[in-house]
């Protein structure tokens, strides 16, 4: 019925309010077939709420949801052609792994042979064949989450929804399973929507990331664009660790930035088309990894002298907190650095790596 074939899920003017509080505000989103979309944001931004609306677990206040071209706004979750994986795994504790995988299918009256076939296939894909007769209590966290993924998998659906699936796992398992999910996506080519607050997960997994705040999508783009050309100051600040350095100042017509002890020309900065600072009040941001030091600084368009205040060795690299004219400049150097506190060094950066934001709208210039 729809010629909207490349779009797997589309969300139109979605609104959700609890009482007078709007959790989601007129949200529009198009998710392509086979796309891996990550909803990223800090807690309370509405990302899980959005996922629950897509799943049909929450009734929307206004707007529409289409999955595979079909209007599912009023459909039950089980009729939407989705599978879902939860943070707490939500396995049925009294059933074996096999029972967990089969429960929904049996209930949907899928023939027995078909159920067996699907379970066998799923178990193989997820490498949980040996666990089928165990109960969830006898599984490790990672194994449980595989089973939970398996439960979504056996449903043979086009859309997978993940609600912070890795948050309950320890760091190492999380990294392993992340890779696994990515591999799975390559293998199955399903549409996947993945909610997380972890930017590493987001950056590594996503085809596109939707950064949310206060029920609104701040930016929807590929990870590299989000990282390199954040659409506003919030996104710039949220993505990247350590966070971006920010300085206040004014930008004159000749592209000279002045403020916070900095005075430089931003010639070479890739301005957004048609965007101009309203009253020349701007934020200037620079990512720590774009600040060069020592010899590398000599090649930079902007250079200055700084004092090392604090050295934080992290193993593979080292974070340096330096001060120029009472302003902090955080940056990253090689792990083998010999810089120590109190050293006078030279640092520098290039204008094309900067980010400029309007002070009022906080939008990227």
């Amino acid at each position: 019925m729809s010629n909207n074939m490349q779009s797997s899920i589309s969300i139109r003017d979605l609104k959700l309010s609890f009482g007078s509080f709007d959790v989601l505000k007129n949200l529009n989103l198009e998710i392509g077939k086979g796309e891996f979309l990550v909803l990223l944001g800090s807690s309370g931004c509405g990302k899980s709420t959005l996922l629950n609306c897509i799943a049909g677990l929450l009734d929307v206040t206004d707007g529409q949801i289409f999955i595979n071209g079909k209007n599912v706004t009023w459909e039950e979750p089980s009729d939407r052609g989705i599978g879902m994986v939860f943070q707490s795994y939500a396995l049925y504790p009294q059933m074996t792994v096999k029972g967990n995988l089969a429960f929904g299918l049996k209930n949907a009256k899928v023939p027995k042979a078909e159920i067996e076939k699907r379970i066998a296939r799923t178990a193989e894909v997820l490498q949980i064949e040996s666990l089928l007769t165990r109960k969830p209590a006898a599984l490790s966290g990672g194994q449980r989450q595989r089973v939970a993924i398996g439960r979504a998998l056996v449903r043979h659906v086009d859309v997978f929804l993940f609600d912070e699936p890795l948050s309950n796992l320890d760091a190492k398992l999380r990294a392993d399973l992340r890779v696994e999910i990515k591999r799975l996506h390559h293998q199955l080519k399903n549409t996947m929507i993945y909610v997380t607050h972890d930017q590493v997960e987001a950056m590594t997994l996503a085809d596109r990331i939707a950064i949310m705040k206060g029920g609104v999508v701040m930016q929807l783009d590929s990870p590299s664009i989000i990282y390199n050309r954040p659409a506003n100051k919030y996104v710039a600040d949220f993505i990247g660790s350590p966070a971006m350095n920010f300085y206040q100042g004014t930008l004159d017509k000749d592209n000279n930035f002045r403020g916070d002890g900095l005075s430089l020309s931003v010639t070479g900065y890739p301005f957004e088309e048609g965007r101009v600072a309203q009253n020349q009040q701007v934020w200037l941001g620079i990512r720590p990894e774009h600040i060069r030091s020592a010899d590398a600084a000599q090649q930079c368009a902007v250079q200055m002298g700084a004092i090392v205040e604090l050295v934080e060795p992290m193993g593979s690299d080292t974070q340096i907190w330096s001060v120029v004219d009472k302003q902090n400049y955080r940056f990253r150097v090689d792990g083998q650095t010999e810089m120590t506190e109190g050293d006078s060094i030279r640092i520098g950066f290039d204008p094309e790596n900067l980010s400029l934001f309007d002070r009022d709208s906080e939008l990227r210039l």
């Binding site: 010629n3 909207n4 589309s10 198009e30 206040t61 206004d62 529409q64 209007n71 706004t73």
Partner: protein
């Protein structure tokens, strides 16, 4: 993205909800049905206590009184007779108050000390005593009734107010101790250790740090004990004398000593009066009451 018009079709916004779905009728219907079952006796008590005897004989126990009279209440409170004493339930009420106040205070005080010692000052054997105490909550009272009569007699407390206070303290101890022990266990050890480093001792820490912090649990304990002690019948009848009979015992006496015709309206007024204190506590304390019984759920 491509064809806007196509997409705007179909359902939009919240799924339409009808008030009278089968589910709603079932849910609210069942709840209302049970609400009637639970409320009916209260209603019957109230209406019966406000009717005159002729109306009770003629009418329907569920119907509201045609002519409201407060005479049964007056009689139940201050005129109903047991033997030649005709001072109604009022004596039992004041007796219950007399029993209630010291019993509640003493039992909570002792239980809070127990809980404190058990959570922060464990000594060899303390866990064993605690286990015995908790298991003791499940022992039928009947098995301990008689030996306690002997113990109280030997202590010279039998029949006295303090004897009954002691009995309430003893039988309230398992659940109360459990309550306080669990609460104090939840208070970080660091706080306790810091106080010890500062030189405070067993009692110092208890009075200056633990007690002020335990106000919420004390309220819960009080609700539990007040309703429990107020509603007690068995201990009141066995361990006190008629002078000190609590309200429940006196209620039973008044209802069972028939002089002439049974006055059901007076009986119901007396019953309501006796239930009033715990009911008021219940409706005032609301959620705390629920918390109390949830905490006391292991009681028995």
């Amino acid at each position: 993205m491509t064809d806007e018009t196509n997409l705007v079709d179909g359902p939009r916004g919240p799924k339409p909800k009808r008030a009278f779905t089968r589910r709603n009728i079932f849910v609210y219907g069942t709840l209302l049905l049970f609400a009637v079952y639970y409320l009916l006796p209260l209603w019957v008590m109230v209406v019966t206590s406000l009717k005159g005897m002729p109306e009770i004989r003629m009418g329907n126990i569920f119907s509201p009184p045609v002519e409201v009279t407060f005479q049964p209440w007056v009689k139940a409170w201050s005129e109903a007779c047991t033997g030649i004493n005709c001072d109604g339930l009022s004596r039992g009420f004041w007796n219950s108050i007399k029993i209630l106040i010291p019993s509640t205070i003493v039992s909570i005080l002792i239980a809070s000390i127990n809980g404190y010692a058990l959570s922060k000052w464990r000594f060899k054997g303390s866990e064993t005593f605690f286990a015995i105490l908790v298991l003791g909550a499940f022992i039928p009272y009947q098995i301990m009734i008689y030996p306690i009569v002997i113990l109280l007699r030997e202590a010279g407390l039998y029949g006295s107010l303090w004897g009954l206070v002691l009995v309430h303290t003893i039988f309230g101890m398992p659940i109360m101790t459990l309550l306080f022990r669990n609460y104090f266990t939840g208070i970080p050890d660091e706080l306790f250790k810091a106080a010890r480093v500062d030189g405070a001792g067993f009692w110092g820490i208890f009075i200056k740090i633990m007690l002020p912090m335990s106000l919420p649990i004390i309220v819960v304990a009080m609700i539990l004990q007040i309703t429990g002690i107020w509603n007690d019948f068995l201990f009141g009848v066995i361990y006190t004398k008629p002078d000190l009979y609590p309200m429940t015992v006196q209620l039973n006496n008044i209802v069972n000593s028939v002089q002439g015709v049974k006055e059901y309206n007076v009986n119901m007024a007396a019953t309501l009066l006796t239930g009033l204190v715990p009911l008021v506590i219940y409706f005032i304390s609301g959620k705390l009451f629920v918390r109390g019984i949830a905490a006391g759920a292991v009681k028995g």
